[in-house]
Symmetry: C2
Subunit: 319 residues, 2 copies
Amino acid sequence: MAVYTDVSAEDLASFLADYDIGEPHAFKGIAEGVENTNYYLQTAKGAFILTLYEKRVRETDLPFFLDLMEHLARRGIPCPTPLRRRDAAAYGLLNGRPAAILAFLEGVSLRRPEPVHGRAAGRALAALHRAGMDFPARRANALGHDAWAAFARSCAASADTVQPGLAAMIVDEADFLARSWPKDLPRGVIHGDLFPDNVLFMGGTLSGLIDFYFACNDGLAYDLAVMINAWCFEPDGAFNVTKARSLIAGYEAGRALTVAERAALPVLARGAALRFLLTRLHDWLNQSPGALVRPKDPKEFVPRLKFHQGVAGPEAYGL
Amino acid sequence: MAVYTDVSAEDLASFLADYDIGEPHAFKGIAEGVENTNYYLQTAKGAFILTLYEKRVRETDLPFFLDLMEHLARRGIPCPTPLRRRDAAAYGLLNGRPAAILAFLEGVSLRRPEPVHGRAAGRALAALHRAGMDFPARRANALGHDAWAAFARSCAASADTVQPGLAAMIVDEADFLARSWPKDLPRGVIHGDLFPDNVLFMGGTLSGLIDFYFACNDGLAYDLAVMINAWCFEPDGAFNVTKARSLIAGYEAGRALTVAERAALPVLARGAALRFLLTRLHDWLNQSPGALVRPKDPKEFVPRLKFHQGVAGPEAYGL
């Protein structure tokens, strides 16, 4: 939630010269996205988000992300679409950073989504998975299951400063998942980060999916397991099975889980909990003094991981 | 430039229940204003800024600021106008803070304004001064000349850590100004902070004046002296007399300076330079570790103050 790169009206004007978009009527830095700098941009042609990609997004990944959003939008997924420049490129360079202009999506994200919202979001995830089937490009999941064992060890030295016992917990869990990770589940393009802040609603209706900068190729059901972690726990850490049932029913209305995917759900959910525990822990332990962002609390994912470790089977998720 | 207070869609919905504005189509925290938290809000009724007043704006001052904007807007000054609640109040309470909804102004602020922009901004300042003449409320300038001597002494102990000799410079200057401050100049409502980031342009045309949270009653020409400091120095510290001439000509097209005001301009400009040097120095020396804002560099105002100290008379400003 920060504006890392300052863009003046003059910088903007020269960047917009490569677009057929008209002159800016409004231009405001917005506090959205931990990874990038975002500006709200309005011209006579409409409303847009100007995104500058900061160091955590590699420029070599940008064509995947931007082409994917264009591909999905063409298939009816309400996601941001990059505006092409006059030379047809999907991004340019602004103040030394790759930068793209994306259509602005209306809607607001919910802090406390109800089961009905999770159902709509699950349905949207299934639609995204289907629409991604014929997307030709590939991107490995840089934060996927084969990265966790090394990642856990790199965080372990300081993990107990955050919570006693955390180092052993993450290393043991990563080792368990390395042994137990399900093979041969259906794969495809996943969003990878479909938390409630990345889903927009207008009234009760889902109006947008945003922040595709963790999108990659991985197991489809793992994407649903991310959502189980993100949408189905209460602020006090309690699991809400009604929300899980609703989320999964929404997903299955668009794409039925296979028998193997259902069986794997507890392990996938453990993996998703560990992934966010590890990345938040890393950001927590590596705060720079001048940071403009308050890192999210990794400890939120400890009870979630423990819950998944304790379930007897997929029926715990309301299946 | 930060969002200090987090507002969820759910918090927003209950706040909006007191307004006749419809439901939110967009709601984004924006990185604007050092003092307050601002959100861009869009509904079927239009675009707005939702401002939450943080601790630096006292709630007792809010009626002055909000009534003033309404008063000026009625007289044709392009400034944000507060949207009244159903009960006619100009602000309410949101997440424990006073909060108002203001009409969104189109336009962008310029980083490197040209003389033509300064002329338009000077003209707008004169229009603001005239439109404020019959505004009935009063607010003392909390950062006005009678506060500087004590303020300088409170910053002096650590000032030399920022730049050697700075402590003596600010204390001596404050003492000089206490002795030399001009009496009996025309007074009225001043903006008090009309830097280029508080003036919006669309194309070449001035479209808005924003951020009235330093507005108060003080000498009108002092407000122009603030603009001389803010609009007429180059990034390398050099004074640009063409910009000053243009700014003052723009101002005088709307309101002629009196003989006494012209004569006082060098002292007023010294005062304005000291005021921003002191407040920036204070913020620089009192950074909290978790701050989400990078303080502005106080040292920018050292060469400006020195310039004003060295001028032979008002003709240095192109008069």
